[in-house]
């Protein structure tokens, strides 16, 4: 959490995680429900949510689709060996493509030469292959090698939980 968020705010944020980790109740006014749980006014609750969202601790209050059910059966982790000096510009460019869901810089390590990761999703392998081609074109000569690791099986999926204890 960023330095501008106070300790008491962090405690409220953690309480908010506990209250809503399983989901927000579908009541007429969810902020009234949250305000009661947090023992704050409705105005203070809404202000807290806005601050946490501006701070990046909450990305948004949103629906998460089961993308397999919606026909997005294919996902590819595209990985790229990109010239370090061009990474700030190219990372943002690749991350801004609408078919990229996650985009990160990660370290090179041993025989692993790729430093830019972009996850792409599609309804067929042809679709994700065309996205990979598009990213390759955008990266141009700044990219020395690339690969796409297609997921073929989910071995475990519980989602990140807030860690507790040491």
């Amino acid at each position: 959490m960023s330095a501008c968020t106070s300790r008491s705010e962090q405690a409220l944020a953690l309480r908010l995680v506990e209250l809503t980790q399983a989901g927000l109740p579908l009541v007429d006014d969810p902020w009234v429900w949250l305000a009661e749980q947090l023992q704050l006014s409705v105005e203070a609750t809404l202000a807290l949510l806005k601050r946490l969202q501006a701070d990046g601790a909450i990305r948004r209050i949103a629906a998460v689709p089961n993308h397999y059910r919606l026909g997005y059966c294919c996902n590819g982790m595209t990985v790229w060996d990109v010239d370090d000096s061009q990474m700030p510009r190219l990372g943002r460019l690749i991350g801004a493509q609408p078919f990229v869901s996650h985009c990160y810089r990660r370290p090179r390590s041993g025989d692993w030469r790729y430093n830019l990761f972009a996850m792409v999703h599609g309804r067929s392998s042809a679709e994700i292959n065309s996205y990979r081609e598009h990213l390759r074109y955008l990266l141009g000569d700044a990219c020395r090698a690339d690969d796409m690791l297609v997921s073929s099986r989910i071995l475990k999926k519980t989602g990140l939980r807030l860690p507790t204890g040491p």
């Binding site: 953690l14 579908l26 949103a62 690749i94 996650h102 990660r106 989602g159 990140l160």
Partner: protein, 147 residues
């Protein structure tokens, strides 16, 4: 799934507005009512079209240490190694990917020490050295699956 369902799914992926009476505001936008939208949403959650509705936390900003890691697992031992990771609460998800590094997983721990300890336990428990690739920079996070 009808047109209203589709518009609701697309709209709610972008986020509930942080305004008083948010369902009323969305109902006006989508030409529906607060009750109808919430009934539709409940049905989409119940039938598994949506997996969750609520705040999406950047859990890393609330403390803890996380990484993406991979293993090169011999085919004969693949199921046994997957079982080792499945039994560890620190492993949030794990995918098989078609590559010599064929097992990719995300670890979430309360501290960097706990994370390094989990990586050591994986190495000891499997005899395989994990490729540890913690993120150095985030350029984009935003799942959006239009329907």
């Amino acid at each position: 799934m009808d047109e209203l369902d589709r518009r609701l799914i697309n709209r709610l992926q972008l986020g509930l507005p942080l305004v008083p009476q948010p369902w009323q505001v969305l109902a006006e936008e989508l030409g529906s009512s607060s009750e109808q939208l919430r009934e539709r949403l409940q049905r989409l959650l119940d039938d598994g079209t949506l997996t969750r509705f609520g705040p999406m936390f950047d859990i890393e900003r609330l403390g803890g240490a996380f990484t993406l890691a991979a293993l090169k697992v011999p085919e004969a031992r693949f199921e046994a190694v997957a079982a080792v990771l499945a039994a560890m609460p620190e492993v949030a998800h794990n995918y098989r990917r078609e590559h010599p590094w064929n097992m990719w997983f995300v670890l979430g721990c309360a501290s960097l020490e706990a994370l390094n300890d989990a990586l050591r336990r994986i190495e000891q428990g499997t005899g395989l050295t994990p490729l540890n690739l913690p993120k150095e920079q985030t350029y984009h996070v935003g799942l959006y699956f239009p329907v």
